[in-house]
C-alpha cells in the first residue's frame, strides 16, 4: 500500500491503473478507504452506512480474477460510495429520511451501482443527504449535517452533501449523487470537487429513490475530470427499467478528453448569471474564461422565469410523490422539508401546466444559444459554503433566505436538462467555488473536454481537504 493511497489523494484513474498493473491489490485499495472512513468520517459525517463486508468480498473476487488472468475493468479496485437514495442490496433506501427506514431492504443494487461494479469499482457505503433530496444545504434532521471537509462548521451543500464531503475528504475518489435543481453541482462547489450532471435522460434512474420525475438526474462527483469521464462512460447505456431514459447509444467521453478545448467556441453567460451573487463567484468565472481565452458574452433568455418555473414544478411533483406519507406521518419528516411539501399540495394544476409549457418555450430559445457557442460558462453557487444552520444570506446587499437561493444559478440549467460539469476554481484563499461548464444536450464530451482544459491549465483543481 503506498503512502498516497493512505492519504486519500489517489484518483480513481490512478487506483485502477495501479490495480491493473499489479502494483496495488483491490483488497489493499478497499482497506485504505475503510481506514480513512473510520478515521475521518466521524468528523465530516458523510457516511450513513459502511458496507465493509461486501466491499472486502468484492475486492477478493477482483483480486482472484486478476490472479487468474482476467482482464481488469476500467475501474478495477476503485472504492466508491453512493448517496443513500440509491438502492443498495440489503439496505432500506432511506433517501435521507426517517420514514423510509421502515421500508424493506432493497433486493438488489440500483442500475448505476451495478454498472460501476461491473467495471470493477467497489461499493464501500451509502452517503448522507438532505431529506428526500429537497435541499441545497447538506443538513439533515435525522442523521445530522454532513460537514464540509475544508471547514467543518460549514455546509457541504445539498442535497448530495455526503457525496461532496466523501470525495473532498479523500474517503473515496468517486461518489454518486443526484441533481434535480443543483444537488450535484452545489456540493461540488461548496466542497471543491468536480461533478457531472449529465443530460436529462442519459443515465438510468432505475433503482434510485425519486424526487421530481421531470428533473431528476444522477451523476458522479470526483477529484479529476478523467475520473468523471471514466465513471460516466461505465454508467452509460440503455436500461429498460427506466421509462424516463432517452434511448441513446453509448457515446464515450474518455477518449475525447485528449482533444482539449481545440475547436470549441466558449461563451460566458451574462445578464441573470452575472449578478445576484458574491463577487468571488463571478471572479471564478472570469478566471476560467481567461484561461480558456473566452471573451464572448451570451445571453440565456428568461433565466429568472425558468428558475421560477422549476420551483413550481418541483414543489408540485414532490408534494404529489409524498402525498400519502404527508397524510399519515407528517411529524416524521424533517420540518424544513415537510412544510414545503405540505405547501406544494395547494398548488393549482394550472400553474404546473403553464410551467411545463414555459419549459418547452425556454428550451427552444436556449438551444439557439448553441448556434453561437459550444459551451457556456456560468457561476455554480452565488456564494462559498455557508455556516451550518445559516438561514439567510446577503446577495447584492439584500438579505435573502439561504436555502432556496443557493441554487439560483443551477436551477435554470437543469430545468431543461443540459449537461454540466462543475469545475472547482480557487479564487484567492479560503473555501472553494465552482464554475458551471454547460454544453448542448448529449454533449457531455464537450463539457468534459473544457473542464479538462481548465484542469490542465491549473485553474480547476480538487485537492483533498487538509
Amino acid at each position: 500500500m503506498s503512502g498516497s493511497t493512505t492519504s486519500g489523494s489517489r484518483t480513481a484513474s490512478e487506483i485502477a491503473a495501479a490495480v491493473a498493473a499489479g502494483r496495488l491489490t483491490a483488497a489493499a485499495s478497499v482497506e485504505a478507504a475503510l481506514a480513512r472512513i473510520a478515521a475521518i468520517d466521524p468528523g465530516v459525517n458523510a457516511f450513513t452506512d459502511v458496507t465493509a463486508g461486501r466491499a472486502r468480498a468484492r475486492a477478493a473476487e477482483i483480486d482472484a480474477g486478476l490472479a487468474s488472468g482476467r482482464i481488469p475493468g476500467p475501474l478495477a479496485g476503485v472504492p466508491f460510495a453512493v448517496k443513500n437514495l440509491f438502492d443498495v442490496a440489503g439496505l432500506p433506501t432511506r433517501a435521507g429520511s426517517k420514514i423510509n427506514r421502515d421500508r424493506e431492504p432493497a433486493a438488489r443494487d440500483g442500475a448505476l451501482v451495478r454498472r460501476l461494479e461491473a467495471a470493477g469499482a467497489i461499493l464501500v457505503g451509502a452517503l448522507n443527504m438532505g431529506e428526500y433530496a429537497y435541499d441545497f444545504t447538506g443538513e439533515n434532521a435525522h442523521d445530522g449535517p454532513s460537514r464540509n471537509p475544508h471547514d467543518r462548521e460549514r455546509m457541504t451543500g445539498g442535497s448530495s452533501g455526503g457525496s461532496g464531503a466523501a470525495v473532498a475528504a479523500g474517503l473515496v475518489p468517486l461518489a454518486l449523487g443526484s441533481d434535480t435543481n443543483g444537488s450535484i453541482r452545489v456540493p461540488a462547489s461548496f466542497c471543491g470537487t468536480f461533478g457531472l450532471k449529465p443530460t436529462f435522460g442519459r443515465l438510468s434512474r432505475a433503482g434510485s429513490y425519486p424526487f421530481v420525475a421531470s428533473f431528476d438526474h444522477l451523476g458522479p462527483l470526483a477529484r479529476s475530470v478523467a475520473d468523471l469521464a471514466l465513471a460516466y462512460d461505465a454508467m452509460q447505456g440503455e436500461d429498460p427499467d427506466d421509462p424516463w431514459q432517452t434511448p441513446r447509444s453509448i457515446e464515450p467521453a474518455t477518449d475525447a478528453l485528449a482533444r482539449g478545448r481545440t475547436g470549441l467556441r466558449i461563451g460566458v453567460a451574462g445578464g441573470y448569471f452575472a449578478r445576484g451573487g458574491e463577487p468571488d463567484c463571478f471572479e471564478a468565472v472570469a478566471l476560467a474564461a481567461a484561461a480558456l481565452g473566452a471573451t464572448r458574452r451570451v445571453e440565456i433568455p428568461e433565466a429568472a422565469r425558468a428558475r421560477a418555473a422549476a420551483f413550481v414544478i418541483t414543489a408540485a411533483e414532490a408534494a404529489g410523490l409524498h402525498h400519502d406519507r404527508l397524510r399519515v406521518r407528517p411529524a416524521d419528516y424533517d420540518p424544513a422539508v415537510r412544510d414545503r411539501l405540505i405547501a406544494g399540495t395547494t398548488i393549482p394544476a394550472a400553474w404546473v401546466h403553464r410551467a411545463q409549457r414555459f419549459r418547452s418555450w425556454y428550451r427552444a430559445r436556449v438551444l439557439t444559444v448553441f448556434d453561437e457557442v459550444d459551451v457556456i460558462l456560468a457561476p455554480c453557487t452565488p456564494c462559498r459554503a455557508l455556516r451550518i444552520g445559516q438561514t439567510t444570506m446577503e446577495l447584492d446587499g439584500v438579505a435573502v433566505p439561504a436555502r432556496p437561493n443557493i441554487g439560483i444559478f443551477t436551477q435554470p440549467i437543469s430545468f431543461i436538462g443540459l449537461p454540466v460539469v462543475a469545475v472547482p476554481v480557487r479564487v484567492g484563499g479560503g473555501l472553494p467555488l465552482a464554475v458551471q461548464v454547460i454544453a448542448a444536450p448529449w454533449r457531455e464530451d464537450v463539457a468534459l473536454r473544457v473542464a479538462g482544459a481548465l484542469e490542465a491549465a491549473g485553474v480547476g483543481a480538487a485537492p483533498v481537504a487538509a
Binding site: T246, V312, P330, I342, T345, R354, A355, R357, W442
Partner: protein, 82 residues
C-alpha cells in the same frame, strides 16, 4: 387575459392553506402553519413570474408521453436537438 390576484398576503395565503388541508387530508399541526404559509407565498410569487409570461396556445408542455411500449423506437422525451 388577466393574471391571478397575486402576490398573496398572509391572511389570504392562510385561508388557502386552511381550506386546502381538509381537501388533501393532511393533519397540519398549528405550529407548522406559519412556515407552510410562507412557502405557499413563495410558490405563488414564483408562479406569478411564469403566469405573467405570454405563451401561444400551440406551445406544448415539455414532458411527452409515448403510448408505445417499445421505448427504443419512441425517440426523445427531453428535446434532443439532433
Amino acid at each position: 387575459m388577466t393574471t391571478p390576484p397575486l402576490p398573496l398576503d398572509d391572511d389570504t395565503a392562510g385561508a388557502v392553506v386552511d381550506a386546502m388541508m381538509p381537501l388533501v387530508g393532511i393533519p397540519m399541526a398549528p405550529e407548522w402553519r406559519e412556515t407552510v404559509i410562507a412557502s405557499v407565498k413563495a410558490t405563488a410569487a414564483a408562479a406569478r413570474l411564469v403566469l405573467d409570461f405570454p405563451l401561444d396556445d400551440a406551445v406544448e408542455p415539455a414532458p411527452v408521453f409515448r403510448a408505445s411500449a417499445d421505448l427504443a423506437s419512441a425517440g426523445s422525451a427531453s428535446g434532443d436537438p439532433a
